[in-house]
Subunit: 183 residues, 2 copies
DNA sequence: GAAATTAGTGATTGACCAATAACTTGGCGC
DNA sequence: GCGCCAAGTTATTGGTCAATCACTAATTTC
């Protein structure tokens, strides 16, 4: 049961990704995260200075995993066209783990909220993560600027349809080329 | 000051669109909406049965306006290619009124939350609105399924970049063809 | 101009929630 | 086997929020 602070922080982040993905920033109580970890609610505040900091850690982790998924997909592939195709296919893995895509949606929404409230720092941090993902994916796929735009545009549509819960066999998925939108 | 319930409901919806767009569902208090309207908080519950119902009304209004913006853009145009281009340009109008695009983001995020909590009704309602928008835009532009997919994919990328607050002159806007991302 | 209807308010409540503070428990070195 | 530090808890607090209830004021109707 008892573990080092670093190990505990790690498991808290994992729980936070799931909870924040499912219920959003304001909809998630620190109590819910603590319960999922199996730890008391106040102890979270020993591991993270605030709820916001915990959310940021979850978001950072999420973006790292998304990036890692794409980079892993191109490993060992040399042909540029093949690499781009492999990254497109990698979306299947992301869709399979709902949390990573849903937490992205919550991140976009929460960032807009933070900025409307005058908090510029959150926006800067999120944009930095996003630009890093963009550039990494673009470089890994040897994409032109236009190709990268199209790639991410498709990704955002997938995110959106998934968030709304369109089932995998719905006709709106047809032009997209990745099945698995449901549940 | 005093007005009919219907007129008041109308002004409440307008206020709700702005507030929910800026602060999200859970981040917006009914007090904040009431204050913007200039009415007492309990009176909102005479006009709408619950906060959720008010949110749904705001979302419905938002989607109607988005749809109307696109349909208005093609008025008087006959050439199919011209109509598609006009709808693409119409995004400039939507970006100009931040609320409509940001409320969409909040809608996606909140729909995901509702579904994670077992509320299937919200998801169904939102999907119906979305399919209606999709079909209307597709019909108005005489688009193929693939063209519609590309059109909406681009739209979702615009939404996302806007939510994150990328300024209009940021390089990520380059491949998109609509300026006006910032504040 | 009185009666009835409709618009709107003030006070309150019970639940929830982030964060703090003060305390306890468990393992490790020696 | 004891002392010490890190892991973890219980209790609490100040604040917020959706929703209800009982009430008042304006408008319409006859």
């Amino acid at each position: 049961m008892r573990m080092s602070a670093d190990e505990r922080r790690e498991s808290v982040i994992r729980a936070a990704v799931i909870e924040f993905a499912d219920r959003g920033y304001n909809g998630t109580s620190t109590q819910a995260i603590a319960a999922r970890v199996g730890v008391s609610q106040p102890y979270l505040f020993r591991l993270f200075p605030s709820k916001r900091a915990l959310f940021e850690a979850a978001v950072r982790r999420c973006m790292e995993e998304v990036k890692a998924t794409f980079l892993k997909a191109v490993e060992g592939l040399d042909d540029p066209a093949e690499r781009v195709a492999a990254m497109g296919d990698a979306y299947v893995d992301l869709v399979a783990d709902r949390s990573l895509l849903l937490l992205q949606m919550q991140m976009y929404a929460s960032t807009a909220v933070a900025q409307a409230q005058g908090d510029a720092e959150v926006g800067e941090a999120v944009r930095a993560l996003w630009v890093d993902l963009w550039d990494s994916v673009r470089a890994a796929g040897g994409m032109s600027a236009q190709e990268a735009t199209d790639f991410f545009a498709r990704g955002m549509l997938i995110n959106t349809l998934l968030a709304m819960g369109f089932p995998p066999d719905h006709r709106l998925w047809e032009g997209i080329g990745v099945k698995g939108g449901g549940a």
